[in-house]
Symmetry: C2
Subunit: 195 residues, 2 copies
DNA sequence: GTCTATACCTCGATAGAC
DNA sequence: GTCTATCGAGGTATAGAC
């Protein structure tokens, strides 16, 4: 039998988390209803509460972790694409730009929209967001340090790399243009080469 | 008579817009209820719909424009603080960090949270967000060009300045730390000095 | 212009059969 | 584990007196 839903091969719990992650990435937490998540996942409301008795917030935390891993994969791909660390970071920006364009400016950072809705209002969600950002920063920092940049400089650079990528992505999505990430790629590469 | 509300001296319409701008800046559009806006503004629901017959979305557009002007003022203060363009941009980052800390990481970019909720879902709100970001970028570009940086370079630099400030602010808010903006200040200054 | 009351709807969450 | 039916709360928006 062929299912009407894209992720039919995965188990129900996974499909629910994926649907939640996608919707929250695109429109944030508050605009995303549980009924819609269930429908997109090809599951019923009962199943959602079966797997996530803690309700929407518990599911959201799981969705943030899931999306965080996907973004980690994208970063790893970019960072491992070449020996030159400056070029590797630029490649991350290009990968993000391409992913955004291919998804009609929908598939960006999986935590930004939700994180901004909950600053100071939900420890669980804020912590999950902080862990995601921290993990990405660490990934970049390790890559830069491996290229010979002093560890402290690498950590600071990684922070700015992440800041710039996040902000450029916001600008890209709002203006429906790849330009901010393309420009960020050039500037970040220049910044890194200065070390 | 002394009012219980902070903006009692302003007219009702202005108080409503201010309250909406503040709430949307802190938690986005969807989490912000009209009843709460009215209460914070010291107005009634009837007044809100009297001034904004188009409802919540019409009010949101006005709130974004209002917040946009406030952020423009902050940028102008930073950009005019010194002759050195690199130092001026760094000062913007420091002003943002200070504002964030003073508000318990609440008062950041007035459009980011709302904009991310509406990418591709509301032309009116997306346009208002795009206009705000474009205005800020133009402000920075003009300042850099005035310092002698070639116009095309200034425009690209302004784009990255804005990207980095926006992203660093996200990181600051999520991690409840000034560090990302402090680091961004240093890196942006270095990037600008290279021209 | 301001206010109260309320209509109408959708939300998150629950209950209980299967 | 999955499903349907439904509850209560809270949302936006409206009506109409003042």
């Amino acid at each position: 039998m062929v299912s009407a839903h894209p992720d039919a091969q995965a188990d129900t719990r996974t499909r629910i988390v994926r649907a939640a992650a996608t919707l929250m990435q695109r429109q944030g937490y508050e605009a995303t209803g549980i009924k819609r998540i269930a429908a997109d996942a090809g599951a019923t409301l009962g199943s959602v509460y079966h797997f996530f008795p803690g309700g929407k917030q518990e599911l959201a935390v799981e969705a943030l972790r899931y999306g965080s891993q996907e973004f980690t994969d994208l970063l790893r791909t970019g960072l491992d694409s070449t020996d030159d660390p400056a070029e590797a970071v630029a490649e991350c920006a290009r990968l993000m730009a391409q992913t955004l364009r291919d998804s009609d400016w929908s598939d960006g950072c999986p935590v930004a929209a939700t994180a901004l809705e909950f600053i100071g209002r939900s420890p669980a969600i804020q912590l999950a967001s902080e862990e995601a950002l921290g993990q990405w920063r660490e990934l970049v920092a390790v890559r830069l340090a491996a290229a010979g940049i002093p560890v402290d400089d690498a950590r600071d650079l990684a922070c700015t790399v992440l800041s710039t990528l996040e902000g450029a992505e916001l600008l890209c999505r709002v203006s429906a243009s790849e330009q901010p990430l393309r420009i960020a790629a050039r500037h970040l590469a220049r910044l890194i080469r200065a070390y």
